[in-house]
Amino acid sequence: MEGKGGEMSGRAKGRRRKITPLSKTFEERPQDQIHSQGEEDVDQFPFPFRFWILACVQLICGAAVYLGLWIVPYLMGGLSIIFQPVETLRICFVVAFPVILFSFSMLRLQPEICPVWWAAFRGFLSLPIGMIVASFIATIFGAPVSYESAVRTLHWGALVSTLTVVPVAAVAGGSWPMWHQLFAATKPNGPLELALCLPAHGAAIGSWVGAWPMPLDWERPWQEWPVCCTYGAVGGYLLTVFVSLGWNAVNLRQSSKGEEEKAK
């Protein structure tokens, strides 16, 4: 299967985007030609299905975040992010985190050596780190530092790190090349990396954009600290989930077309 993936990507080279198998390990990415000899088949699914699995995972995650932020709090006694930010963020986190964690754990790299629960565990471990880093960055950007606000900041940080780092940690663990590839170089390679990278950046840039209305003197409750940034983060996440889905779909079609041509 790996070999096939390599061939395929070799074939797709002329096109806009290189298609690589969903869970190809990054070691062999720079040198597609060099393939490990005799390794067992890593991919558990034939090619066209992989896209659908990824799409389902992404859609489920997006739905979970949407439900968690708007629907579930509303059902639970009419809570809303505007008036009960901490409670709502907590609910959203509780709803979204397990879904994202476990669905991306299914897509882990090297599934043959890394069981699902390990992937889930390392994703879980990344949460506090991501939360602290996100809260630190939010504070640096100007989030207030009083106790009440710090609680909000931490809740926001938990949600944002659920959207950004937890999937990556679940899929790739502490692999520096992967993190570098996704977050420092921002060169996602293949559908899975795109599905990890784009929504994460969407959430981060979304919360950056979401902070802009805060100084306006409209005196609306949603201008309070975590509210519009949460809107921004979730909005950016959902948007980029669909963008990455669409992008992958386009690539899928192109590559399958290429395969058909080849078959002819």
Partner: protein, 1023 residues
């Protein structure tokens, strides 16, 4: 020499000239100074006529006339002899009068039963007295007493006058011989020093206190209300405003507070008013509040101030009509302007209307007087307004005609047709003459009531629009001036921007040839350019203008976070192919073993074979990341030090907490900051100087620091003992003067001497060996072939660097002296931030183009400007510091000092540009006296061009915004003050660029001369 250099330099000079001309034209065209009448209104103001401008002679005080002769002379009689002026700070009129015809909420009505009852019975007459922005206490009190709404530039001119010097009610009353008592907000005492016979000022400092602050006023009431010696009693209650600040409009404390106020009104009514019908109680508020309890802006809620007139005579049976009128008005919306208080009170109390009052009297309050007196009051007010109108539009022919001898309205109508335009002043003038005519007709008709109504109506038809027109501050703008000025500025901006692009293009072309490092990622450039654009775009919103510090800090943080990403990007995993393969082969020996190791790798692979960094790279990346994190933390600390802005300015911040609750800690922090800064200064003293000069520089800087410490001690003593023991005041002044002298001498001698003294010989160079100093900023040892000195270029760079460091030290010490005590720590942070940034760009692994580092410094400077507590309102200009060390009043000197204090941070960073940020580039030139043109362009011209370009972008964009927003609600309260700051920033940028250009040019000239001389000497020797 270099023709490109000359071309760019002259182009820059041209653009600069264009910009200056454009700026002057625009300011002249857009802000004509609002003309005001000089002097004080006297008896002459009771005569019709308009030639009282500049009447400075103090005429015979009014009270010298007897009551009957006064009526004869003046034709007017006071209605009241005593006044209780009760200010309830921040009370929205809505709480008492309701809004849109609806009564106030039930609980608010119940909270003030007595007042509501007074209004229902007609003893009280209430108005929504619309306050003009800024809705804060001091300007509102000025407006309520002088009746003038200052024009924009007047605010700028008078920013440091605390005492109200304009003609005002209190002074008029004092001249009429009234004895006055003031209890409450001490702002009154600042505005009117020595006017009150007895006073007890309370401070509005502790916003948390809602009880004591009012009890301190009320405790005197028993005594004062029992006394008969005063004729004016001013009460200013701050508690309600404090309640609002803590809990907003719907605070649970509000009802309690209103009840307390109601009890006081009841007490005054029962004791003073019921005793005499000739006593008036005026309950006013200076401004309203938003739902959140804030104020300052111009929304309805904030501007909705109260004016409530209470007297016994309203309910007198003979003035039944008035009572009925007021009863019918109850809960209806009687709209008025806050300044209307002034002519109303002046005429009710029988004193001249203050000269520049723009209010129109509130006619219903005069309805119980005789028709003759009513018309007389209207006439007086009309003449008074006409005089201001005449001053405001001196070219109006109609007003000139009236002044010359009173033409008839019919004639004027004709002349109006002939001129045939809708000139407002002309329109008002016509209304005036119509009213005059109606007044005359009334007198001729034997004072018939229908003629009276007509005359009254005609007067009101004149007064109200005139008052609104005058208050709106509409003076004739010179549109052609403004437009041509703006287009000149636009032209200069285009020149600057093209210049910057050309310069950076040439310099990057030069860079590519010898670039060994990775170029900065396009994202950094994107954020830098996008930041400039976003910041300019944000001026379109008044909130972003008010809260500009957020924009700066946000952009700066974004920029540093992007730099952080850039740093991480350097940390590329090195894919060691062979090792990797090897590992794989080894592992294949036992599948189980491999699986196990991969398993661990996969979830916590901190030491996977993939992760092999080049060790020095890792180290420098970590360093870079740490520096950026430190910079970010400093920036955040600076941001929270002062809240700045408008909407959140009242909330607690570090500076307020330190000042209010830990004064001793503040002093310690101040001293500690001084210590740190002086240590840094000592360390900064350039090592490229001969030892003796170094010692002298160090000594003078240390001496300055000691003097600053001495000044601090004097300051503390003065505060601690509140009296001038040991002549502390004089000592402080002397030490401050000594500091000025020392710093000035250091500054000048540094500038003139350093290029001559800088070490140019490589012999001494090797003995200095800075590179060995670990972490030192000055990694500027130059590796040349032995024998030749450093190249001209390197020597000039070194000289500029040395001059820059000493300039920075001088500037920081000066700022430590001038800034308020609480700003000492932010200053230290700013200095550290500057040094860190310079170091970051010097040692970064990516080679950033020079313009990125200049832009960063510019942003840091602008962000620091707000970190030192400045904002875009004029209220934050630190006036107290501007008098340090001045033994006599001098506007020029204190203005300069105020400018230095306000622009401490941007000027610091402009001087920081002298420290070049480029890293060592090996000099491959054989002839050391040659200068590469690229270097000239990049290191000398670009640091001049770029700040000017960025500033001119802001200037031009904001000029455009101001022009478009000239009818905006906030144009006078938000946009115009900001424009003033933009102009001041432009001057600051000019100053910084001047310093840079002069130092650069001078060093260049001196050092090339020196080089020439050594060369000649060498040649001679060889010959």
């Amino acid at each position: 020499m270099a023709s490109v250099f000359v071309k760019f330099a002259s182009l820059g000079g041209l653009a600069l000239l264009l910009q200056m001309t454009g700026l002057v034209l625009f300011v002249l065209g857009f802000f004509p100074v609002k003309p005001t009448l000089d002097g004080i209104s006297g008896v002459e103001s009771f005569n019709p006529g308009c030639e009282f401008d500049g009447y400075d002679k103090i005429d015979k005080p009014l009270h010298m006339y007897g009551a009957d002769s006064r009526e004869k002379n003046v034709g007017f009689l006071a209605k009241y002899d005593r006044l209780v002026f009760m200010v309830i700070d921040g009370l929205p009129a809505e709480f008492i009068l309701g809004r849109d015809g609806k009564p106030p909420a039930r609980d608010l009505q119940l909270a003030m039963p007595y007042t509501q009852n007074l209004m229902a019975t007609g003893s009280a007459l209430g108005y929504h007295a619309k306050a003009a922005p800024p809705t804060v206490t001091m300007p509102r009190l000025k407006a309520m007493t002088s009746g003038a709404i200052a024009g924009f530039l007047d605010v700028a001119y008078n920013f440091n006058t605390k005492e109200l010097l304009e003609d005002n009610l209190i002074d008029q009353l004092a001249r009429a011989g009234w004895r006055m008592v003031m209890l409450g907000d001490e702002t009154w005492l600042k505005l009117f020093p020595n006017r009150f016979d007895r006073h007890d000022g309370v401070s509005s400092f502790y916003v948390k206190d809602t009880v004591e602050v009012d009890n301190n006023v009320t405790r005197h009431l028993d005594v004062e209300l029992g006394k008969n010696d005063w004729r004016l009693l001013v009460l200013h209650y701050l508690g309600l405003d404090h309640v609002g600040h803590i809990g907003g409009r719907s605070s649970p404390l509000m009802v309690t507070k209103l009840r307390e106020m109601d009890e006081i009104i009841a007490r005054i009514y029962r004791t003073v008013l019921s005793r005499s019908p000739r006593t008036l109680l005026v309950v006013v508020s200076d401004h309203g509040m938003t739902d959140g309890g804030n104020h300052g802006g111009a929304t309805y809620q904030e501007a909705d101030a109260l004016a409530l007139f209470i007297t016994k005579s309203f309910s007198d049976p003979e003035s039944k009509t008035a009572a009925e009128a007021s009863a019918s008005r109850h809960h209806s919306d009687s709209e008025a302007y806050q300044v209307d208080l002034v002519p109303t009170l002046a005429l009710l109390l029988g004193i001249p209307i203050p000269k520049n009052s723009v209010g129109a009297l509130l006619q219903p309050l005069f309805s119980s007087s005789t028709p003759k007196l009513q018309l007389r009051a209207l006439e007086l007010n009309s003449w008074q307004l006409l005089r201001i109108t005449r001053k405001r539009s001196p070219r109006s022919k109609c007003i000139a005609d009236i002044c010359r001898g009173g033409k008839m309205a019919s004639d004027i109508n004709q002349s109006a047709f002939s001129s045939g335009n809708g000139n407002e002043a002309h329109d008002l003038c016509r209304k005036f003459s119509l009213a005059m005519e109606k007044h005359k007709q009334w007198a001729q008709s034997g004072e018939s009531s229908s003629a009276f109504e007509e005359a009254k109506h005609a007067y009101l038809q004149f007064l109200q629009p005139t008052s609104v027109w005058l208050a709106s501050g509409s003076t004739e703008k010179l549109i052609s001036f403004a437009v041509s000025g703006a287009s000149l500025m636009l032209l200069s901006t285009i020149i600057f921007i093209t210049g910057v692009f050309q310069l950076s293009k040439t310099s990057s072309r030069g860079l590519k040839s010898g670039a060994s490092k990775q170029a900065a990622s396009p994202l950094v450039k994107l954020v830098a350019i996008g930041g400039v654009c976003l910041h300019s775009a944000s001026f379109g919103s008044s909130s972003f203008v008010e809260e500009e510090q957020f924009t700066w800090h946000f952009m700066l943080s974004t920029f540093f976070v992007v730099l952080l990403r850039d740093a991480f990007q350097q940390l590329k995993p090195v894919n060691t192919k062979s090792g990797h393969q090897q590992g794989k082969h080894d592992n294949r020996e036992s599948a189980a073993k491999r699986k196990c190791s991969q398993f661990f790798q996969s979830w916590l692979n901190l030491k996977s074979p993939d992760l092999q960094f080049q060790d020095p790279k890792l180290k420098s990346t970590v360093k870079e990341v740490l520096q950026i994190c430190l910079l970010l933390t400093f920036a955040r600390t600076l941001r929270s030090w002062h809240r700045s802005g408008v909407n959140w300015a009242h909330l607690p911040d570090v500076a307020k907490t330190l000042e209010n609750t830990h004064p001793s800690l503040t002093a310690w922090i101040r001293a500690g900051s001084l210590l740190i800064v002086s240590l840094i200064c000592r360390w900064l003293v350039p090592k490229t100087l001969p030892r003796f000069i170094r010692r002298v520089t160090e000594a003078s800087l240390t001496l300055t620091a000691v003097l600053v410490l001495f000044y601090y001690t004097c300051d503390l003593l003065r505060l601690a003992y509140r009296s001038d023991i040991w002549k502390v005041e004089a000592w402080a002044t002397i030490s401050a003067q000594g500091i000025y002298l020392l710093l000035g001498a250091t500054f000048v001698s540094t500038f003139t001497l350093f290029p001559w003294l800088i070490v140019c010989k490589s012999g001494t160079e090797s003995s200095l060996s800075f590179k060995k100093r670990k972490g030192a900023l000055y990694v500027m040892s130059l590796q040349e072939e032995p024998g030749t000195g450093p190249s001209l270029q390197a020597a000039v760079k070194r000289s500029m660097d040395a001059t820059g460091t000493v300039f920075l030290s001088c500037w920081c010490l000066l700022q430590l002296l001038l800034q308020q005590p609480v700003n000492a720590a932010p200053l230290t942070l700013l200095l550290l931030q500057l040094l860190l940034t310079v170091n970051l760009f010097r040692t970064a692994q990516t080679s950033f183009p020079r313009w990125i580092s200049i832009l960063t410094q510019h942003w840091l400077g602008a962000s620091g400007h707000f970190g030192l507590g400045n904002s875009n309102t004029l209220a934050t200009v630190d006036v107290a510091g501007a008098y340090i060390g001045l033994s006599s009043h001098s506007t020029a000197l204190s203005g300069t000092l105020a400018f230095f204090i306000t622009y401490g941070s941007p000027l610091l960073y402009m001087q920081g540009l002298l420290l070049g940020t480029d890293q060592e580039k090996p000099e491959k030139r054989k002839d050391g006296s040659e200068v590469s043109e690229n270097w000239l362009l990049e290191d000398i011209l670009l640091p001049c061009y770029l700040p000017l370009a960025m500033n001119s972008v802001v200037l031009t964009v904001f000029t455009g915004v101001l022009y478009l927003m000239q009818d905006h609600l906030f144009v006078w309260s938000v946009f115009s003050p900001k424009y003033l700051y933009v102009v001041a920033t432009t001057i600051c940028t000019y100053l910084g660029t001047l310093i840079f250009a002069t130092v650069g040019g001078y060093s260049f000239l001196v050092i090339s001369k020196r080089m020439q001389r050594t060369k000649n000497a060498k040649n001679n020797r060889m010959l």
